[in-house]
């Protein structure tokens, strides 16, 4: 076990965990930030996507020991009132079905729009292909990303 000081959603937080613990479980079990979801544990589904210094990463593959001195943002931290343009677009298009993958989808989408404010269909496919939606909301996600791109 070791002490780590982490910056998550702009707050400084301390945890005492094994250095190999992935950020996914630090967030979920130790910091009660459960919006970041467990899906596969091998970076194949994207449900656990968070931002590390603004880039979308799979938190199931990010050990806590590599997260010190970085800025981490989770679904709980992308806006104060749930009114990020991507969140608003998700509601406008009524995207979710079961909803489980959507936090990861939104984290990938927000990272995409930050680096590419008006993505093409191909850009969206490339940026989002790591995020599985088992319910099949892909066409709505694409439409929502385009709406968010217009309003941002």
């Amino acid at each position: 076990m070791a002490q780590y000081n982490l910056t998550i959603n702009g707050k400084s937080l301390n945890v005492d965990v094994d250095p190999s613990t992935p950020m996914l479980w630090v967030l979920r079990d130790h910091l009660d930030l459960v919006g970041t979801k467990f899906g596969c544990g091998i970076a194949q589904c994207g449900a656990c996507t968070i931002h590390l210094n603004g880039n979308a990463v799979r938190s199931c593959q990010l050990p806590v020991s590599a997260a010190e001195n970085t800025e981490i943002t989770t679904i709980e931290g992308i806006s104060e009132n749930g009114d990020h343009p991507v969140q608003k677009a998700w509601l406008e298009h009524d995207v979710p079905q079961c909803g489980y993958c959507q936090a990861g989808q939104i984290m990938s989408a927000t990272a995409l729009l930050k680096s590419n404010p008006s993505p093409s269909d191909e850009d969206i496919d490339n940026a989002m292909n790591g995020n599985i939606c088992r319910c099949g909301t892909y066409t709505r996600i694409k439409a929502a990303i385009k709406t968010a791109a217009k309003s941002a």
Binding site: H30, D32, G35, F38, I75, W90, P96, C98, M128, T137
Partner: protein, 756 residues
């Protein structure tokens, strides 16, 4: 207003002293939509008054509606309360929706599966809304001392024109809550023309919680002092635990205990939905998910071949049956060989019209084709998990279950507790697709908690989830058609089976449309567990049947839609045989609608097009799939669907569900496959089990609903089965090759120089 023969169970309209839930899970209908200004929205009331099982009203007129059914993504949590709100006659923006817990004393059918949520709730939930409205009217009549019949309601207000009295629901809710509930049989329901909420799209009531990452799933649940548990199950079907070395994990950091649990007591008569692959598993308990998952990898365990076993099963129909679990380590290659034997071996006759044998003898030409599909894993995004807190003689379970009623007795029996002392609370589920109809995980978590006498959250890894069974079966179907010298269809013969069940629905189309018709079924026993998977059986047989009809139409020189319409005309005007369980007119209606919406005969340049139609879960669906070829591989461009599911309660959410079913179908048709080597599943996670991804989804999907006034029927499943053949038939047009075996993708990769 119409009076409907409801034959309802009265318990839904009675009040029970303790409220389910407790205000923890409120969802605000308006949060999901445009945010209204504060004066438009009612704040939380100071006090709630319970009107009936489904409805409570605050003194300020705010309304809480309980969604009785488990939510796994089909949006019942929004659309079922819409039925209540319609007849209660309230403003949707003043509605709070609360997820009901499993509470059989209050609610009748807490069941998500078989596409029956809206269909089964259609009369009972509207009646619950209407009886509540009547109670409010009666309360106003008593208060104003006027006849109840003279009082009208309008979106949350009561009015008596004669006396000039007017009041909000909240003002009489306290009194209404004390009055005798009216007999539901005497309460009138609105005429369709009077609907204000039904038929108007409402946003998902949990939308804002989902996009902000609020805890909603069992996976997110946590209480003070909670422990975490991982499980280890045998590596293959047909194996069981021999021994395990506790010392290999108990000294690891954060690990508290390791032990095995047996799911069923000796001699327990299992319910039909008690399907579980491994009745004994190993549990590792510790302080965090990561620590128990690490210990899982370190655990030293030995496995052995399980001998043949038997158990008694009941709960599905009146009979108790003896179920045999054969011994052995099975292989997919052997499965294929055994299934292929049935191409020539006879099956059990399920339906016979006319003289099919004679017709085949007379035929100038016989076309025979065999279709196969593999086992499929459900792979819901939220892996199997469950929270349980068992102390003394009481158990609280918070878990993802499509049908808590079916596991309730089993959990109680395994714990040795009274059913009344086992409370199951319903978490939102991260997908289900049939998998969570089998709720063995509730028993597992409960037994672990009972053993450690502490609250616990048990979490399967993705590998546990994917390799623990309860799959869609593998199937094979052989279709034969007899044609005369003028290419007239003389007879049709289908023989289909699977491991371990047959996919045949013998009385469905094209039965009833062909003079000489023979349907045979067969099954091969196996120890691989299977269960309902979105549109069970239909999800295979539709693809086989509709691919064969497509090929048959081509052989007969007919347009594939015209050919189907001709058959349906025959079934409508002069049906063959009895018990045809579809309405040929409604079936034809969706084909005509999809022909119109896709502009069927006007195929765009560079597009290849296929069609398919199917009836299941009381609904009719026809689909057209357009593909193009890019970089020598097919790309799904457009999908057009025409759906007849009666009245559509929540149209945009219904379209979303349809789009998802289509994408699900395309994904499984191209990539879906689970295989076995020596009993072990060959795929364990998404690196090898290929799921459809963003770039592979269709560019455009249009879902069109037939506009009619029929009572609502199924929706979550019926759009899934037709897409397999619509895709296969379009791929044939694009590639020149008929695809008979799913998944399609491996065969397409091998193809060179695709057409176009």
């Amino acid at each position: 207003m119409t009076l409907i023969d409801k034959k309802l169970n009265r318990r839904s309209f009675l009040k029970v002293s303790t409220l389910a839930g407790g205000g923890m899970m409120l969802s605000f209908s308006w949060l999901a939509g445009c945010k209204p200004t504060p004066e438009q929205v009612l704040t939380m009331p100071k006090e709630w008054f319970e009107i009936n099982s489904y409805i409570k009203i605050g003194e300020n007129g705010a309304v809480t509606l309980f969604n009785p059914n488990p939510e796994f993504g089909s949006n019942v949590k929004t659309s079922l309360p819409m039925l209540l709100a319609e007849e209660l006659d309230v403003d949707w923006k003043n509605v709070f929706v609360e997820q009901a817990d499993f509470y059989p004393k209050r609610f009748e059918r807490q069941f998500t599966g078989g596409s029956q949520g809206i269909r089964s709730g259609w009369v009972p939930l509207r009646t619950a809304g209407a009886t509540a409205r009547q109670l409010l009217v009666n309360a106003a009549a008593q208060t104003w001392n006027v006849p109840a019949t003279e009082i009208t309601t309008n979106t949350g207000y009561l009015e008596h024109k004669g006396s000039g009295n007017r009041a909000g629901y909240g003002e009489v809710a306290s009194l209404a809550g004390t009055l005798e509930a009216p007999d539901p049989e005497t309460v009138k329901l609105k005429d369709i023309s009077e609907f204000k909420i039904i038929g108007n799209s409402k946003k998902n009531v949990d939308g804002s919680k989902i996009v902000t990452g609020k805890p909603m799933y069992a996976m997110d649940h946590k209480v003070e002092g909670m422990k975490y548990a991982a499980i280890v199950h045998p590596p293959a079907f047909g194996m069981k635990i021999k021994s395990f070395d506790e010392a290999s994990v108990t000294s690891l950091p954060g690990i508290q205990d390791v032990f095995s649990i047996k799911l069923f007591k000796e001699g327990f008569e299992r319910h039909a939905f008690d399907t579980t692959t491994f009745p004994e598993i190993i549990a590792i308990v510790g302080n965090s998910t990561w620590e128990v998952m690490q210990a899982k990898k370190a655990l030293k365990a030995d496995w052995e071949i399980a001998p043949e076993s038997n158990f008694k099963m009941s709960g599905w129909g009146p009979d108790v049956s003896e179920v045999k679990v054969p011994s052995g380590l099975e292989n997919s290659s052997t499965h294929s060989e055994k299934m292929a034997e049935y191409i020539t071996k006879p099956g059990n006759i399920l339906r016979k019209d006319g003289d099919p044998e004679g017709a085949f003898k007379k035929a100038s030409r016989v076309i025979e084709r065999t279709y196969t599909a593999p086992f499929l894993a459900h792979n819901p995004m939220e892996p199997i998990n469950c929270f349980a807190d068992v102390k003394g003689d009481k158990a609280i379970i918070y878990g993802p279950s499509q049908i808590p009623d079916f596991i309730h007795g089993t959990v109680a029996n395994s714990l040795g507790l009274e059913k009344e002392n086992v409370q199951i609370n319903l978490a939102r589920m991260g997908g289900g697709f049939g998998r969570r109809a089998y709720s063995h995980h509730l028993t597992e978590a409960a037994l672990i908690s009972q053993r450690i006498q502490a609250p616990v959250k048990m979490v399967y890894t993705r590998e546990d989830d994917m390799t623990a069974g309860v799959y869609r079966p593998t199937y094979s179907a052989t279709y034969r058609a007899a044609l005369d010298e003028n290419n007239n269809l003389l007879a049709l013969h289908v023989k289909a089976g699977g491991i371990p069940e047959s996919p045949i629905h013998a009385n469905r189309f094209p039965a009833g449309a062909i003079d000489n018709y023979l349907a045979e079924g067969w099954q091969i026993e196996s120890n691989i567990t299977i269960g309902a998977f979105r549109a069970p059986r239909s999800n295979f047989i539709a693809g086989a049947e509709q691919s064969f009809l497509d090929e048959l139409a081509e052989e007969m020189g007919k347009d594939p839609i015209e050919f189907r319409l001709e058959l349906l005309k025959r079934a409508e005007t002069n049906p063959v045989g009895k018990d045809n369980d579809y309405d040929p007119k409604r079936y034809a209606g969706v084909l005509e609608l999809v022909r119109d919406k896709s502009n069927w005969s006007n195929v765009p340049n560079g597009i290849s097009r296929g069609v398919s139609a199917y009836f299941c879960h009381n609904s009719y669906v026809a689909e057209v799939v357009d593909v193009s070829i890019k970089d020598n591989q097919p790309v799904v461009e457009n999908v057009y669907a025409a759906v007849d599911c009666g009245i559509v309660v929540n149209p945009d959410a219904a379209a979303n569900m349809g789009e998802g079913a289509i994408i699900d179908g395309i994904g499984n048709a191209f990539y879906g496959e689970m295989a076995f080597e020596n009993g072990a599943p060959t795929k364990r996670n998404f690196d090898t089990y290929r799921m459809i991804r963003h770039s592979e989804a269709p560019k455009k999907i249009e879902v069109h609903f037939v506009d009619n006034k029929e009572d609502p029927t199924g929706l979550g499943e019926p759009l899934f089965p037709p897409v397999f053949a619509a895709l296969g038939n379009s791929l044939y047009k694009a590639t020149g090759k008929r695809l008979y075996d799913q998944p399609f993708q491996p065969q397409l990769i091998d193809m060179k120089n695709l057409r176009m």
